[in-house]
Subunit: 436 residues, 2 copies
């Protein structure tokens, strides 16, 4: 195996703090192959790091030294679409957007749509309980997963869950595997519930003078008791980055942008209410037609830019209770100023899930890195102090482990370890990730 | 403690197959009292059966011999309603409907609404992952629970989950506790996400010649890609029972009734589509005004009648993939005829969740009971054969344990036991329930 391949599979898109190389990369093509890998790994006590397409932003798919990287990307068949049952059964390597292409002709959609929907796998989405743009209305990955096929640490294949919408036989192992970041088993089959493709959508672009004003707009929509499908917030710096990259002219239109999409039979009426309350809240609101709207949402999905996070730039993923959005946005600006780091901010605002990106110039070296770390730590502490969480959707992975004990008590941490031991007594599944 | 009290707390509303008396009933009034009970129980290895209001239909709250029945019904305070954060924090003994009364003035609702919503507790709803009428659109209990306070088997108090809409730090212990039927810990605090009270609702009553035709109507609504909030199906025998009990005249209007409620900004438009497709499907469709609609839904909620299940009457709770509804309805009628038992049937049809009630006359004694058991067993086997589950929402409890291994593999059963051991090594929490 060439060292180029090993290198390529040694990391995901999250910051690397503990560089490590795998001993081998396996590109599994069948459930049996996955079972075989796990049986061998179990026998020889070798660590196994499952991997979709490595778009994780928290180092969940980073190699640990001498491990087997078990890539599921080749297991990418959509096994079944059952339009009347409103479900689909897929292999883990299927790309999120490909499933949506396959089910759209039936008037159906797979709702959870991480911004990485064209590049990330459903197995990775399941393993991280991925969120996305439509989650405030349609829920996160867990809410759409009905059943799983999982290969356990010793190679045993199990099936959890049900192919009915509801089912409560036994413990909800399906939900436990969702979000477990490859530490409890390898997901080799996924049964998802599909939702109805909305009969219509309405998209509004609301430009505000600044981020806190736009965050207040989110609360105004909530107070009007309208539930948009999409409610995304971009700050002025992000608009500037997008303008530079894609020749758009967003920054000229305002200091912060709230993108709202309503959908379904009530889309028009909901959109009218949203327009009214946001205008009252001081926004300049424009209705976008189909192609403009799609373009704006695509820009939002690309709001991370294409750089990969590293020592000098880190994208965060905190969430706060919605009432704290305005306050927290202000706090982030204060922190950036105090620590002398630069900040841009996008948010799945309907969920209170914020992605601030902090960065410093590379030529600042260690000093810059330390200021960056201090800003990151404070952003996490302040979010927790407001009743928030260290990770809304990206997962703890390797990078956020140092913050986990700030959020969870010693008792919860130890209970999680006992759960882990029940599934993986030898500790070979993605060691050093997700839990401490 | 009087034997009357012990008797009262010795069983829930499910059939009793292993009659047993508790040693003591504790009506806990605080988290500390619950912790104290668990510490003592742990020390003396005494079984503890948690209890809300005992409306379980599967014996989940039945006493086991010499146990402590730990009732949470007095811990019934709504601790906090946070309208801007769209969440509420409650003690476990709060009655489901009381929470809805408390949050309605804020334009909010707690979505999961079991037909027992005026008599069951949120702690019980969480422990069974209760479903209800609005689940097809709004999800089950698990989808509304953000965080839990749980007293573990040894008295340790932990907090799981997050007060944000999204959060993926650590394993989803919250989801694991939901539906665990008091076997992993005692739920002493619940943080729920609230949804928006719909701006309007539209209710249709569609009468069909028979149950299979009505079930086909459910699929027709699905094919039109309209998602009603409520989609309940009642067969002719149920209509007759309701008419007798409540002086209604439903049976005269048709052989089966499909009750449909659409809600939200699109309610009117959705209702028009539903009316059209159901008329085409052969139904007589009538729009119900507010009071009539409420009355019909109340009748549906009372469709179980007031008898408690026993050896001669058992209500079932299977679910099948939606495409199998028509076929399965036919199968149930065939089984009833073949086994010489009587049948009536209601269904949360939008979810494919059916509640057939089988019964025989009491004076038939053992012979009748055997025929009833044979019919029940077959109804479960056939549902499983169609890709269904033995329990859509009521839980396995004690009564459905004999069917669990028909649905779950030996590997899953053993994995569940290992999870149980990680939480409750002495096996004192509700032994002999939920899992084998
Ligand atoms: C531009 C961009 C935008 C993004 N936007 C979002 C967003 O909006 N919402 C969001 O939630 N995330 C987002 N992400 C993060 C990332 O895309 C998600 O976490 C995604 O779910 C990871 O999928 P993947 O296939 O790349 O998994 P990987 O990165 O390969 O792996 C992620 C984790 O899952 C485990 N894993 C992968 N496959 C399996 C399997 N089959 N069985 C068991 N474990 C497995 C890995 O071990 C690792 O712990 C974004 C990332 C990028 C680069
Ligand atoms: C008329 C009627 C209609 C019904 N309709 C529905 C319906 O539509 N959907 C549905 O899902 N169910 C329905 N049910 C069943 C029942 O109401 C639900 O299962 C309900 O959730 C039970 O709540 P409870 O407070 O009565 O709990 P109990 O019956 O007291 O207990 C149920 C289970 O939960 C455990 N438990 C209770 N409280 C706690 C706690 N605080 N911590 C840990 N474990 C606990 C018990 O040990 C037991 O295993 C109906 C029942 C009746 C009688």
């Amino acid at each position: 195996m060439s060292s180029g391949v090993l290198e390529e599979y040694s990391r995901d898109q999250g910051p690397v703090t503990q560089p490590a190389m795998p001993a081998v990369v396996v590109l599994a093509e069948s459930v049996e192959e996955v079972q075989h890998v796990m049986r061998c790994a179990h026998l020889f006590k070798v660590a196994v790091v499952a991997r979709g397409t490595g778009t994780s932003l928290s180092g969940g798919a980073h190699a640990v030294s001498g491990c087997i990287v078990l890539s599921l990307e080749r297991m990418n068949r959509i096994l079944e679409v059952r339009p009347q049952d409103e479900l689909a059964i897929v292999e883990p390597g299927v790309i999120n957007a490909d499933l949506n292409l396959a089910v759209a002709p039936h008037g159906l959609m797979y709702a959870p749509d991480p911004a990485s929907h064209t590049i990330s796998t459903l197995g990775g989405n399941v393993a991280t309980n991925a969120g996305g743009l439509r989650c405030a209305k349609y829920g996160v990955t867990r809410d759409s997963v009905l059943a799983l096929d999982v290969v356990l640490a010793d190679g045993t294949l199990i099936h959890t869950g049900h192919t009915t919408f509801k089912g409560v036989a036994g413990y909800d192992l399906t939900a436990l595997f969702v979000g477990s970041e490859g530490t409890l088993g390898i997901v080799v089959g996924i049964t998802v519930r599909l939702k109805y493709l909305p009969i219509q959508t309405r998209t509004l672009a609301a430009f505000f003078p600044d981020f806190p004003a736009a965050a207040a707009g989110v609360l105004a929509i909530g107070a009007a008791r309208v539930q948009p499908a999409i409610l995304e917030l971009l700050d002025g710096n992000t608009l500037g980055v997008l303008d530079a990259a894609f020749q758009s002219n967003l920054a000229a239109r305002g200091g912060a942008l709230l993108l709202i999409q309503t959908d379904g039979f009530g889309a028009e009426a909901e959109s009218a209410v949203v327009r009214k309350v946001l205008t009252q809240a001081g926004a300049t609101v424009e209705a976008e037609d189909g192609s403009e709207a799609a373009m704006l949402l695509d820009l939002r999905r690309n709001a991370r830019g294409d750089g990969v996070d590293d020592d000098f730039r880190v994208g965060e993923d905190v969430a706060v209770p919605r009432s704290q959005l305005v306050h927290y946005a202000g706090e982030l600006e204060r922190m950036a100023a105090e620590h002398g780091v630069r900040l841009r901010l996008v948010a799945h605002a309907g969920d209170g899930n914020l992605h601030p990106t902090f960065w410093v110039n590379r030529d600042e070296g260690q000093a810059g890195m330390h200021r960056l770390q201090a800003a990151l730590d404070e952003s996490v502490r302040v979010a927790l102090g407001l009743g928030g969480t260290i990770t809304g959707e990206h997962g703890v992975g390797q990078y956020k482990l140092r913050w986990l004990a700030w959020e969870q008590s010693a008792e919860v941490l130890s209970l999680q370890r006992r759960v882990k031991e029940a599934f993986d007594p030898l500790g070979i599944l993605n060691p050093g990730k997700a839990i401490t």
